[in-house]
Amino acid sequence: MTTIQVAGLHVRHRRTVALDSLDLGFGRGVHGLLGPNGAGKTSLIRVLATVAAPSGGRVRMLGEDIADPRGRTEVRRRLGYLPQDFGYYPGFTVREFVAYMAWLKEMPAARTPAAVERAVTRVGLADRIDVKIRTLSGGMVRRVGIAQAIVNDPAVLLLDEPTAGLDPEQRVEFRELLRELGAGSTVLVSTHLVEDVAAACTEVTLIAGGRLAYRGTPEALTALGAASDGVGDHPIERGYTAALRAHREVAAR
């Protein structure tokens, strides 16, 4: 079942085009969003997070049109979003921060304290729950960001570069969490780390220059890498560069 349906999506930043008539659909599972810097990954995620307004096109999520304010509010209750950068109030502990986000997400007050503890435990920060966020390392702050995103058990989870700043062991644990979350909801993960996609995603979407360049399973992308002469150390990296090159050749024509 498709939970996110994007049709003819256009996003412009002043004069530059970030997304150019993009048509995409996402269902339950973990979707890897790959692409070079400036490809439009963050633009797409911010539109889906209902933070940025698209300059054209339609987005339906969870059966609602997000251009309609009422539908948007419905979607936001069931949304989890981790931006590339996020701020926090310096005096806040992990628990207070995640609880405040739960309040903003209009979770029932009675359920909030338990949900906060569960989310923080799932990202492996249970022992730091009453520590001020500003004393945590970059990777831990990133995990606090993931905790606030999942605190309301979102039906749609949007993660922009979630593994940036995580060490290898944490990344392995995070992928496990991703697989768990993908079983029940639609998870969209933008990343530069192709290995993350290979390990945790059920589907790969590659965008370049604001357009769709490739869609398929990680296995298919790996097979593409094996069959072609893409550069890279890992088979799926070779698939990534091969798909990108093929897309650019078509686009240049």
Partner: protein
């Protein structure tokens, strides 16, 4: 670390059980120290017939495991959350409010300045407006990117924060006004309606201009309207002129009635334009 990784052939053999024992042991030894290969092996095994069995087993174990006795989740400290409801209250704005209130009192009682009340009345309406500017939006709230993706985003959150700003500034400044001798200026509470109206006007205008510009227009507009005529008169009796000017704007029933009507109008405008707040951000 040798940089050696198990070739695919070895992993495939391990997964389907065709690898000789000795090779399997040495591979297992390697896996203890190499997460990358361990991941590959685990994927390869999951792809075989053992995969579904492993999944079922895992589910069964998880289902059978006794739930860890959930420690009673700690209740949240409500005041902290309220505090968070208004970023302005934690920033430079609160000291500024205190400075205005205390400054007026000190000017009147320590420096014996007769124009303290008019000065306070002239500045006070701008204080909540500035508080609103510092409460909502990307420039003011470090949490904005996250807050904007929640159902509370938009006018609702802006209003909650405005309420906190008003709850802090109205009593403080009115109290200061009561303590300061009147010296011909309107009453200490005369600024309340203008302050409320300017705040609502800033919120209403914010739907078009963005909050920052809207607060600059309303706050700056008020200050110009009060101070410009005073500064334009050359004879130096600043405090008397200020008193006259304020009496004209906020003294008396007619002026206050006018402010009340303007407040109602701004509130109505805000209600009509409520969705403008949600997505102020355009590319």
């Amino acid at each position: 670390m040798t940089g050696w990784h198990a070739p695919d052939r070895l992993i495939a053999g391990y997964a389907d059980g065709s690898l000789p024992d000795a090779d399997a042991w040495s591979l297992e030894k390697h896996l203890e120290s190499c997460a990358a290969c361990a991941g590959r092996v685990s994927r390869a095994v999951r792809a075989t017939a053992a995969g579904p069995v492993l999944t079922d087993l895992r589910q069964a174990v998880l289902a059978a495991a006794p739930r860890a006795p959930a420690a009673e989740p700690r209740p949240l400290r409500a005041p902290r959350l309220l505090w968070a409801a208004a970023p302005a209250v934690r920033g430079a704005w609160l000291p500024a409010v205190l400075l205005v209130a205390l400054g007026a009192v000190l000017l009147a009682h320590v420096a014996d300045f007769s124009g303290a009340r008019p000065l306070l009345l002239a500045v006070a309406p701008v204080v909540p407006v500035a508080g609103v500017a510092l409460s909502y939006g990307r420039h003011a709230d470090p949490l904005h990117e996250l807050a904007a993706s929640t159902p509370s985003a938009g006018l609702r959150l802006a209003l909650v924060r405005t309420a906190v700003v008003l709850a802090v500034s109205l009593p403080l400044l009115t109290l200061a006004g009561v303590v300061v001798p009147s010296s011909g200026a309107p009453g200490a509470a005369a600024w309340l309606l203008p302050g409320l109206t300017l705040t609502l006007a800033a919120l209403a205008l914010g739907g078009w201009l963005g909050l920052r510009a809207a607060t600059a227009v309303t706050g700056g507009g008020w200050l110009c309207a009060v101070l410009a005529p005073v500064l334009a008169t050359p004879d130096g009796a600043v405090s008397r002129h200020l008193s006259d000017q304020l009496s004209l704007y906020v003294g008396g029933g007619a002026a206050q009635g006018g402010w009340a009507a303007a407040a109602a109008l701004c509130a109505a405008l805000l209600a009509v334009r409520r969705t403008a707040y949600d997505r102020l951000e355009r590319h």
